[in-house]
Amino acid sequence: MTRLLVLRIVAKILIPFMLMFALYVQFHGDFGPGGGFQAGVIGAAAIVFYALIFGLPAARRMVPEPVVETMVALGVFLYAGVGLLGVALGGNYLDYFVLAADPVAGQHRGIFWVEAGVAITVSGVMLKIFYMFAGRRRDLEEGR
């Protein structure tokens, strides 16, 4: 493990910036390039990077599988929920104009939550697929 010292230190320095960049891409997507999908992938990539350097069990401790599986469904739920909220407030499905008193503010709010849903699902799915592929041999040996 000692010969991985450089990698471990570089990873520890870089990963906070990667997560920060994911959040930046998420919340700055209204103004610059980016949005939910890119942010979700970058966030998942930071965790994947962590898993590559520190090992899969460490990553699974930090972001446990039940959390990831919940994220997979939660994002779609959030997105569809924003749509239904529009219906409940008297608009059409996925109609953001009714989400706030001011139509433009409503658009802003709708886009924000929809992008959050996309980011949650995308990062959940990416992480889940990575966990599945990377942990398959280990799981097969331990499972039976």
Partner: protein, 169 residues
């Protein structure tokens, strides 16, 4: 990029193929930046070069890194591929010139998006406005597709729990 594609096709070591594929994705991302499609370039760089490279390496770890020699020379698929390439290149000759403002695709809804998006949604990035608001249904569909892909991988690859009911870890 053409050199890389030929290299990927000829290479027998799958590890090298994965690395070449990552390089290809990064070059593609650069091309997309040059075409002013920064959103797509970010996706290409992070998904194509980042996550999918790692996933392919994970798959290689499971199934070995050497491609089996093909039993027959695949001349027929090569011929079909060349014919399709010829047809596609012939098809591009009929397209309007690159970034021609009079092209049909720029005449339909694009002016409305570009002119009205900021006023209607308050979001300066038109790509985000179109993606999340004007085309909200499509994006919901895409999210469901990603969700379905995740569910499919879980269903296919999940290691079953033991019969006595103990969890697998």
């Amino acid at each position: 990029m053409a050199v890389l594609a030929v290299g990927i096709a000829l290479q027998r070591n799958l590890f090298a193929v994965v690395v070449l594929g990552g390089i290809y994705s990064f070059l593609m991302a650069t091309v997309l930046v040059a075409l002013d499609a920064v959103d797509v370039a970010m996706t290409e760089a992070s998904v194509g070069a980042g996550v999918s490279t790692v996933l392919l390496l994970g798959a290689l770890y499971l199934c070995g890194a050497e491609e089996a020699r093909p039993l027959a020379r695949p001349w027929l698929p090569l011929a079909i591929a060349l014919v399709i390439v010829g047809a596609l290149v012939y098809g591009t000759l009929g397209l309007p010139a690159f970034s021609d403002p009079q092209a049909p695709i720029h005449q339909h809804v694009v002016p409305r998006y570009l002119n009205e998006a900021l006023r209607e949604t308050g979001v300066p990035n038109v790509v985000t406005a179109v993606l999340a608001s004007y085309r909200g249904y499509d994006t919901l569909g895409e999210t469901v597709v990603v969700f379905t892909a995740g569910i499919g991988v879980i269903a296919l690859l999940r290691v079953p729990r033991r019969r006595d009911g103990e969890p697998r870890r």
